[in-house]
C-alpha cells in the first residue's frame, strides 16, 4: 500500500504544479481586461480631459504630448473619449451577454435533461432563430424598436440565448449518459440533485468559456451597431460611434477613427484570450 500512497503523492505534486502555471496568454488577456476595467471604473482619473468638452482652438490636432490620441473635429480629446468609451463598451459587453448566458444555460440544462416534448419545442425555436444570420436579426429587431442601447440589449437577448442553450443542452445530454450520473441515479439521488449538483457544474463550463468570447463579440456588435447609428447615440463616447464619426476624416485626421478601432480590437482580443485561458483551466483534468 505504501507504493500506492507514494504514487498519489507524486500525482498530487504534479496537480499542484499544473494549477500554479497558468498560460501566459491568459495573463496577457487578464491584463488587457483589467486595464479596460480600470478605464471603465475610474475614467476621471485616467482621462486628462472632459470627453464632451468642445475646444474650438484645438480642432483636428494630430497626436501630441498634450493630446496623446489627438483631437477630433470638435476639439475633443480623443484619448479621453476612448477612456470614457470603455465604460460604455464594457457595459455593452456585459448586457449583451449576461441574459443570454443565464437564460440560455438554464433552458439548455432543462431541455437537455428533460428531453422529449420540451426538446421538441426547443428544437423548433432554435431552428427559427438560426435560420437568420445573427447580425441581420438583431439589426432588424433594433430597426423595429428604434435605435439606442436599451433596444440593442433587448434585441441581442431575444436572439442570443439560443446559442448558449444549444451548447448547454448538448453538453447536458452527454453528461446524462456518463457513468457518474448513472451512479447518482443508482444511489437514489433526486432528479433535482442530479441536475444541479452533478450535471450542471459539468455542463456549464463550455457556456462560461463561450461567455468570455461572446463578450468580445458583444463589444464588436455594439461597435458595429454604433457605427450604423443603431446603437449608442452621439454624443456618447462609444468606440463604434467614434469610428463612424471619424470616417469623414480618414485622410486628413485618421487618428479619430484609428485609435478607437485599435482599442476596440484590443478589447476583443483580451476577452478572447481570457476565454481561451478559462477553457484550459476549467477543463476537467483526467
Amino acid at each position: 500500500m505504501a507504493s500506492e500512497v507514494a504514487a498519489t503523492g507524486a500525482t498530487r505534486r504534479r496537480a499542484r504544479a499544473r494549477i500554479a502555471r497558468p498560460k501566459p496568454t491568459l495573463l496577457l488577456g487578464l491584463t488587457i481586461v483589467v486595464a479596460m476595467l480600470l478605464m471603465a471604473l475610474l475614467p476621471h482619473i485616467v482621462a486628462p480631459y472632459d470627453p464632451s468638452k468642445f475646444d474650438y482652438d484645438a480642432i483636428l490636432q494630430a497626436p501630441s504630448a498634450a493630446h496623446w490620441f489627438g483631437t477630433d473635429n470638435f476639439g475633443r480629446d480623443v484619448f479621453s473619449r476612448v477612456v470614457y468609451g470603455a465604460r460604455v463598451d464594457l457595459q455593452i459587453a456585459l448586457f449583451t451577454t449576461l441574459f443570454p448566458f443565464l437564460f440560455g444555460t438554464l433552458m439548455g440544462a432543462l431541455t437537455g435533461y428533460v428531453g422529449r416534448w420540451l426538446d421538441g419545442i426547443f428544437g423548433r425555436i432554435v431552428d427559427v432563430v438560426m435560420v437568420f444570420p445573427f447580425l441581420i436579426l438583431v439589426i432588424a429587431i433594433v430597426a423595429m424598436l428604434g435605435p439606442g442601447l436599451r433596444n440593442m440589449y433587448l434585441a441581442v437577448s431575444i436572439v442570443g440565448w439560443v446559442y448558449y442553450a444549444r451548447l448547454v443542452r448538448g453538453e447536458t445530454i452527454v453528461q446524462k449518459q456518463s457513468e457518474y450520473v448513472q451512479a447518482a441515479r443508482v444511489m437514489g439521488y433526486s432528479p433535482a440533485r442530479i441536475v444541479f449538483r452533478h450535471i450542471f457544474p459539468n455542463a456549464v463550463t463550455p457556456a462560461i468559456v463561450y461567455w468570455m468570447t461572446d463578450m468580445s463579440l458583444g463589444i464588436l456588435l455594439g461597435a458595429s451597431l454604433g457605427y450604423l447609428g443603431l446603437g449608442a447615440q452621439p454624443p456618447t463616447a462609444e468606440w463604434g460611434v467614434m469610428v463612424a464619426d471619424g470616417k469623414n476624416f480618414m485622410v486628413t485626421a485618421p487618428w479619430i477613427s484609428t485609435f478607437p478601432g485599435l482599442v476596440l480590437t484590443l478589447a476583443g482580443v483580451g476577452f478572447s484570450l481570457v476565454g481561451d485561458g478559462m477553457a484550459d483551466l476549467l477543463r476537467p483534468k483526467s
Partner: protein, 346 residues
C-alpha cells in the same frame, strides 16, 4: 539519455547467429511533451525470424504499441527515434522515406486494433485491396479483382465477390478485422505487424481471428509480431515472447519458457496475478502498486518499487538484459531466485 549503438550482438537478442528477418537494435523512442521528454521505448532489441510469431506483451505504458509504430516510422514529430531497425539488411530508420515506403508497403504490413478507424470509411473494401494490389503487385483490372476475391475468401469472408463492393461500416466487427487482414495480405508481406488485433473483439470472434492468423502463417510462411496485453492470446499463438515494462524489454524467451520458468520478477508477478485454477475464491496474488509514470521513473530497475525480490542492487543501477538460459534473456538480476511456475491447469 540515448546510448551510442552497440555493435551488432546476436547474443543480446538471445539468438544464436541465424537468419533474422527483422533485427531491431537499441531502439529508443522519445516524445517531446510540454512536461518534458517521455522515453516511451528505451533500448529495445529483438529479432524476428522467418515464419515465427513473436509476441510483445505488456500493460499500458509499457511501450509495446510505440515500438511497433517506431519500426514503421508511423509516429508524428516531435518524436525522436534512434537505434537500428534492419529489415533484411536495410536500416529502415535511416533509409530515405521513399525507400522505406517501398520496402514496408511491399514486404511488411500492419493491422490495428480498431478496424473502423484503420479502414478508410469512404472506400469499399474492394477498392482498398485493389489499391494495394496495384501499388505492390502491379495487378489491374480483372486479374486484380480475382486476386482481391481470393484474398477475401482466404480470410474467411463469405460471398467474397459481392463483398468487394461493401463499405467497412457494412461489416460486423470480426468481419472488419478479417477485411483489414485481407488488405494487409494484398502485398504478400513477409512480416505482419499486428497491434492488439483482437482486443476489441468478443471471445469467440477473437478465437476465429487468431486461428486465421496462425493458418495464414502456415500457408504463406509469414512472420508475425503480435502486440497484446492478454497472456492467454500469447500462450495460444506465439512462438516467442518479449515482455515489456516501462518502455524496456525485460524478458525474451520461447513461449513455454515464459509460462513455465519466467526469469523476470515482473513476468512472474504478472503470471501469478492471474487466476489459474488455484483454490477457488482465494485471494489472488496481485502485483502491488501501479505501472509507473514514464516521466517520473525511479533510478535503477523500473519494476523495483513493486517487486517482492527487490534488493539495493536493483535500485542502484538499471540492469541490462542478459542471456539466462538457452534462447532466454532477462533484465532481472535475481532471475536465478525466481521459482518455476507450477502447472495448475488453465
Amino acid at each position: 539519455m540515448s546510448r551510442p549503438p552497440a555493435p551488432h550482438d546476436p547474443r543480446a537478442a538471445g539468438l544464436p547467429d541465424g537468419e533474422a528477418l527483422l533485427s531491431v537494435r537499441h531502439l529508443d523512442t522519445t516524445f517531446h511533451t510540454p512536461r518534458g521528454p517521455l522515453h516511451a521505448v528505451r533500448d529495445v532489441s529483438f529479432d524476428v525470424r522467418p515464419g515465427e510469431v513473436l509476441g510483445i506483451v505488456g500493460e499500458s505504458g509499457s511501450g509495446k504499441s510505440v515500438t511497433l509504430r517506431s519500426i514503421l516510422r508511423l509516429l508524428k514529430p516531435p518524436t525522436e527515434i534512434t537505434g537500428e531497425v534492419r529489415w533484411k539488411g536495410l536500416d529502415l530508420l535511416t533509409a530515405s522515406r521513399r525507400r522505406m515506403l517501398e520496402v514496408t508497403g511491399a514486404e511488411i504490413s500492419v493491422i490495428f486494433q480498431e478496424p473502423m478507424t484503420a479502414l478508410n470509411p469512404v472506400l469499399t473494401v474492394g477498392e482498398q485491396i485493389l489499391e494495394s494490389l496495384r501499388a505492390h503487385e502491379g495487378l489491374r483490372g480483372a486479374a486484380a479483382r480475382d486476386r482481391a476475391t481470393e484474398l477475401l475468401d482466404l480470410v474467411g469472408i463469405p460471398s467474397p465477390r459481392e463483398r468487394l463492393g461493401a463499405y467497412p461500416h457494412e461489416f460486423s466487427g470480426g468481419m472488419r478485422q478479417r477485411a483489414m487482414i485481407a488488405i494487409a495480405l494484398a502485398s504478400t508481406p513477409q512480416l505482419l505487424l499486428a497491434d492488439e488485433p483482437t482486443t476489441a473483439l468478443d471471445v469467440t470472434i477473437q478465437d476465429q481471428i487468431l486461428k486465421l492468423l496462425l493458418r495464414l502463417r502456415e500457408q504463406l510462411g509469414m512472420s508475425v509480431i503480435l502486440v497484446t496485453h492478454d497472456l492467454g492470446v500469447v500462450a495460444q499463438t506465439c512462438d516467442r515472447v518479449a515482455v515489456m515494462y516501462a518502455g524496456r524489454l525485460v524478458e525474451t524467451a520461447p513461449v513455454r519458457a515464459v509460462f513455465r520458468e519466467p526469469k523476470h520478477a515482473y513476468t512472474l508477478g504478472l503470471r501469478l496475478s492471474l487466476p489459474s485454477g488455484g483454490a477457488h475464491r482465494q485471494p489472488l496474488q496481485p502485483i502491488p502498486g501501479a505501472p509507473p509514470d514514464l516521466q517520473d521513473l525511479p533510478p535503477g530497475c523500473p519494476f523495483a518499487p513493486r517487486c517482492s525480490y527487490v534488493t539495493d542492487a536493483c535500485r542502484a543501477e538499471e540492469p541490462r538484459r542478459q542471456p539466462v538460459a538457452p534462447q532466454h534473456t532477462s533484465a532481472c538480476i535475481h532471475s536465478d531466485r525466481l521459482p518455476a511456475f507450477e502447472e495448475v491447469g488453465s
